[in-house]
């Protein structure tokens, strides 16, 4: 891991020192040695703050987009867009692929300091700064939990999800941390009409979590951040992982693999199935 840190600093020093980028977004030491926090280095002198190790798991791609995103900010003229370098784990790279597919920015707008793990990703990093182990156990655990749920009768499944959604406090951390939740006016904030009730009633919470999961179908790259940040431990990523599996099974599409591809729900085939239609 130390080599990755060194490589990142070396690259960042070069990029900032030669004024090739305006900011390097990476990780830095957090409030103790088990915690990292995002770092926004703008000068070569700040480069030694950058670190990379097991605690650096946040998906930093979310800082690129949205109302205040580095590459899409409403508060800066388009021709003054900062040149950004991003320390990107595989999930962040897949997020970047998706964001390029959705025309949020172009590939050349972000300098990717990529960390690979052997899993497929739809872009090449500008510089590969390191290699880590794929977390196979995590993927298996998610699959196992989905299978467990699918084995239950529908009414039990609904009761289980209902109990989970009842816990929701509507902090929207899941939304804020997600690279694909970049809408400047989220559907939940619309109140003319109020599609989704704002108060934390079970039915409102269900609508919120279901809609968010649905709006991510064919887009989510399963970084798992939503589940990590939820303060009341709702297993949000199960919904997203399940739908990603459905999209792959039905449409043969996997998010984050091809920056030229059209996302699954933004296209169609004339021979898509009609089985469920009366």
């Amino acid at each position: 891991m130390q080599e990755i840190t060194d490589r990142i600093r070396e690259e960042a020093r070069r990029l900032l020192g030669e004024e090739l980028v305006d900011v390097v977004i990476g990780y830095q030491q957090g409030w103790d040695e088990t915690i990292a926090t995002p770092c926004f280095a703008v000068q070569a002198s700040q480069v030694d703050r950058l670190i990379f190790d097991e605690r650096c798991t946040y998906n930093l791609a979310r800082y690129l987009v949205g109302r205040e995103g580095y590459l899409t900010s409403r508060f800066r003229p388009a021709d003054e867009k900062p040149r950004v370098a991003l320390v990107a784990r595989p999930a962040a790279m897949r997020a970047i692929v998706g964001l390029i597919q959705e025309h949020q920015f172009k590939r050349e707008d972000v300098y990717v300091l990529g960390i690979v793990d052997g899993t497929p990703v739809g872009i090449e990093p500008d510089v590969q700064v390191g290699q880590i182990q794929e977390d196979v156990a995590k993927q298996q655990e998610i699959r196992a939990r989905i299978e467990e749920l699918e084995a239950l009768p529908a009414s039990e499944r609904w009761a289980w999800w209902r109990q989970e959604f009842t816990k929701c406090i509507r902090c929207y951390a899941c939304r804020q941390v997600c690279p694909f939740c970049y809408c400047e006016e989220c559907i939940v904030d619309e109140n003319q009409p109020q599609w989704i009730g704002s108060s934390p009633l079970p039915r409102n919470n269900t609508s919120w979590n279901v809609i968010r999961a649905f709006h991510l179908v064919g887009r989510c790259i399963n970084c798992g951040e939503c589940e990590r940040v939820c303060p009341v431990d709702i297993p949000l990523n199960l919904l997203n992982a399940k739908m990603a599996a459905e999209v792959e099974e039905v449409f043969g599409y996997v998010a984050g693999m091809d920056a030229e591809a059209v996302p699954a729900l933004a296209t169609f085939r004339v021979d898509d199935t009609d089985d469920f239609i009366m």
Partner: protein, 333 residues
Amino acid sequence: MQARLLPQGKLTELVNALIRDYEVIAPRDERSFARIDSAAEMDLRDEKPAMSLKEFFFPEREVLVSYRLGTSGVTLTEPSPDDAARVIFAARPCDAAALPILDPLFNWDYVDSSYVERRRNTAIVSVACDEPCDTCFCVSLGGSPAGTEGSDLLLTPLGSTYHVQIITERGGELVEQYAGLFEDSDEESERQRAQVEAASRSKIVKEVDIAGLDKTLDFHSPVWETVTQQCIDCGICTFLCPTCHCFDIQDEGSPDAGERVRIWDACTFYGYTKAHAGQPRPTHDRRYRQRIMHKFRYYPENFDRTLCVGCGRCITHCPVSIDLRQVLEAVKE
């Protein structure tokens, strides 16, 4: 009033006895406090629940009035008063200390009668922390792992027994109600209690000096822009905070029948303070600045209290691990 002792083995009996006579709220899991029906449901782990006690006085959703359109016109109904007698058991000293800080606000230009009612009807039995977390900094806010502010009774674990400090008259009445379970305290126990508190205090790893911040915190400091970059504008710090109290009022229902409700809101959200004329805090550095200024400068200006108890939940649960202590240090310069 003379302190008491509660043998470790009698704790369950006390809680079950309280459940017979009151609605009892206790830590249920790592997420929240909740109403319990037996002592077995209580979870006394070291880490405090993510949710604080404020939801029992300032609920996340509260009906203000319901309406129904009938054949003879509109009927408005106020909710029935929430006057159940409650005991919050195994509260944290920091959560208890938050309530006297909020009291002047809910009794200010508008008296929130349901908050006041609940405060009147709820007794708070706190348990001192003997293992503060890495993110606790109650001592920086004038509190302590064995702080008494806001509690009626404070239990300090002494190994085989709990030291029971009687802080208020209501606390004394509670002890009298279950007198058979308690023993008298003695010098040795008093000494041990002080020792436990001192040991706990020393375990707090990172403090922050906020002296004078209520006068010196600078709205115009250029540091705000850089120190807030990581913030992703969710509502976790606000919703988990025992002292944050922003809210929104919405109507839910149909033209026929519905409710006007008050729900939690967060100044960190983009939609907060967004008005027809515009949004005075369009970027998150301004919103984050507002939050800190409110807690450490404006609230003290209005109420002589800092709107923070140093519980550290905002640090523990922040999705990007922002440390409020570090932020305060940075803006002090």
